[in-house]
Subunit: 551 residues, 2 copies
Amino acid sequence: MPDLPISVPPATDPAALVTGLPPMWLRDNCPCAACRDPRSGQKLFQITDLPDALAIGTAAARQVHGADAVEVIWSPDGHRSLYAVEWLTARPGDPAQGDHRNEAGKQLWEAADLGALPEADWSAYLSADRERARVLEAVQRLGFALLRSVPAEEGQVLAVARSFGFVRETNYGELFDVRVEPAPDNLAFSSLAITPHTDNPYRDPVPTIQILHCLRNAAEGGDSGLVDGFRAAALLREQDPEAFAVLTSTPVPFGYRDARAELTAHRPLIDLDPTGRIREVRFNNRSMGTLRLPARELEAFYAAYRTFAELLLRPELQLTFRLEPGDCLIFDNTRLLHARTAFEQSGARHLQGAYADLDGLASTLAVLRRTAVLDELAELFNGPGSADYLGEVVTVAEHMLQAGALAEAAGAPAHLVAAALLHDVGHFAGPISGDELMAGTDNRHSHTGADLLARWFGPEVTEPVRLHVAAKRYLCAVEPGYRARLSEASEYTLQVQGGPMDEQQAAAFAALPGAADAVAVRRWDDEAKEADASTPDFEHFRPLLASLLRR
Amino acid sequence: MPDLPISVPPATDPAALVTGLPPMWLRDNCPCAACRDPRSGQKLFQITDLPDALAIGTAAARQVHGADAVEVIWSPDGHRSLYAVEWLTARPGDPAQGDHRNEAGKQLWEAADLGALPEADWSAYLSADRERARVLEAVQRLGFALLRSVPAEEGQVLAVARSFGFVRETNYGELFDVRVEPAPDNLAFSSLAITPHTDNPYRDPVPTIQILHCLRNAAEGGDSGLVDGFRAAALLREQDPEAFAVLTSTPVPFGYRDARAELTAHRPLIDLDPTGRIREVRFNNRSMGTLRLPARELEAFYAAYRTFAELLLRPELQLTFRLEPGDCLIFDNTRLLHARTAFEQSGARHLQGAYADLDGLASTLAVLRRTAVLDELAELFNGPGSADYLGEVVTVAEHMLQAGALAEAAGAPAHLVAAALLHDVGHFAGPISGDELMAGTDNRHSHTGADLLARWFGPEVTEPVRLHVAAKRYLCAVEPGYRARLSEASEYTLQVQGGPMDEQQAAAFAALPGAADAVAVRRWDDEAKEADASTPDFEHFRPLLASLLRR
């Protein structure tokens, strides 16, 4: 008999876990399928839909797939919610928890704190998820990373942007050229140093990522500099809290205009989030406009502004390095200031730049991390899965890939494609092997597989896997001719697994909520034993699996 | 003799205007060409470049082109700054002045406040700058506008976005489809109402503009709704200040995930700027995640959240209308919530959407407003300028267009192209006409022209115009053969204008800072008298002129 999904655990006092919690909050987080779409996780009701006098009616301990849970029946509407104890007991956290935009989620630095630069080879970055995740993680945590050996060709900067996100097109185009060539009549761009600044402070929303790709750098000098603006702002807060208070509370006008654009933004030099954490730094003397305030406020602002500017120029804050052709710098334009040292005008220098956004980068990184946990499953397919499958004409991996492909071809929902694809992983996971099963010992592989998969997936994937052996025993009992079509190996294991169900067992199985799903998986399982069938590989299914991963 | 650009005015006490001002602020706003690039207006020095002990050395009244000014000689470095009195006496303003992102720059509304919807025909919007400015101004001020008769074809939503800014590409693509077709197995999108929400609260930076283009709407019901979130937030502040305080100070986690994206943002439902003004509203029950706070704070948040949600649903706040095929709604996604009423599933409904940003829209609007002031000049070329030019073989307009084109072909800087193009506008502006000049009365058209142009342009444009007659008199005095090459009409007017300069006058002219520019304009003036020369029209020069307009 399969486990019932819910059973009563030994005595505890589950009411204590929920009675202290605000009912609106608890109910707003009800994970049931009527309250949240199981696939997207999106909430399906409005907060105003909840009754004014919402209260916990009864609370009782339950077990869900072996995990402790509390069942709440709500008053006055009788709605039923089931909360995992693990979820209920999560410590009330920092409101900034998981926020990757403010200082709490960053590693602030001065130049000496950094050993080797966070860098990667472009081709390794493109081919290995792990390299790519490492680079993107550096941009998120340190504010920058350097890609080496990006082909020194025009337009490649866009390929870099698109490797992790989306190009933010501006009035400068999709990309812009930073060219300094010997041109004595253009002194502004000749040998002058450009002090640390953020780009486009006159844009709102400001582009949150900048990418600079070096195509040529034959000039002497012209090195690149970076300063961690969050670190500088944190130093200011420490050393001159009043100046910090002034800069965080004074909107500053920034402006840019040319024939075809006129951009203005009013934002503070240091922007805090509502919890008081540093969230954005804007600093650009060139495009700062005229501040109009009472004289005393102007005085306080200018004193603070100069203190911050001096701080940003401190040598120990400056990280300096040279961009060579093929180098591509990705940095957080809401945090890092960039600069160029002075140089002798003895050669040409050409960079191409583009803007992008941090949210796209964070999304790509999250998906990479998410799918990285699937590597272990991929290993099962490539390693032990390539062994013979209990005397069938296919390997276990071929068998599971065929089952997944059959489910996909049948237009099955994603969770059933996943269940079909993964239904036999238990052969590699439990203490008893598939060979021992063939030698007459039931390895209960449907249960060990479901338990293994519960690390990644919810019950919509694990339960059809758990029940796929029971489904065979059920079909043998209720469907004339089914048993006769079983393969020789499957007929053998049927006996080891308990043989066909009796009438009472079959009725109990049919009454399970997951019975239909399990039967569907079972049918793809039975069909997936064709020699030399052409099937997609595991990587084909990775995005589908990733979409089903538990949060 | 031309006016000297600076002369001493009658007695006032100019020191009084500057002594009360913070020296750092005043110096940071020095408008001289060494401190600010005259073309871009960008600052050319760092705040840290200024001496610590900066102080006003002397302050003295001056006149610059007839306007009162104060000249400051700075201690200790002797730098000289010249400030217009008009600039110095500008009232210390609101820090939010000119900020088009917060509530101060908006017209908040309830449905009854709006008469006719702010709308325009797509072809009129495309062809008339005034229509386009009116639509964009509505988006900025009211939060939305409606374009009618946009061809109901796929992809047109991108043409709308590009008509005022740049598409913000996301994981949903450059555009996305909102399709509701009879499909009983997709109940989530069938006949349900979608309550007011903002889009993509899980994105940071959030897309600040959304565009929805209706391709088909054969369904009964399915009307569109808009709510002014700023108005609702202002009502909350008025009616429940504590709830307002809670919602503005609590970062809320928002999330979205699918197979290829995982977006999270932590932002308050109501975001204030550092001056406490409402700046952004985020509201989306579907993608709000789990808030982890101490129970008392959760209770306060949920009470405030429900109050705000109820407020947003008040019927008097809801503006409801129907999108017909070809209608395209542009709205501010940081301010307006959009909704869809329930509908009977009797037909197909298909919208296409795209995101863009407010800063690009504001820039386009500013440039439209800026170039609109040039319409008056364009009129001069099309109207009076098409008259004969004082007996020459070209009209005045042809003459000036030729002069502008010659300057452009010579690679002259923009301000000299403009001066050449506009050097004779004084013939239409002063009380004495060009015909009277030919009858023997000097109309001083170089001065009236320069004074007229000062409404739009700085001295780099107006002064070469002011001096272009003096330049003729100067060249006649110093350049052998120059006078002999003058046209017959020009030789005649030379006499009326005072004849060649004497030696002393010529030396004084040559010493003027603008002499070289004036001579350059004069030479294009002299050459620009070819019959039937092909020249660009006034519109060709509009962007160049726009780039030179005074702020």
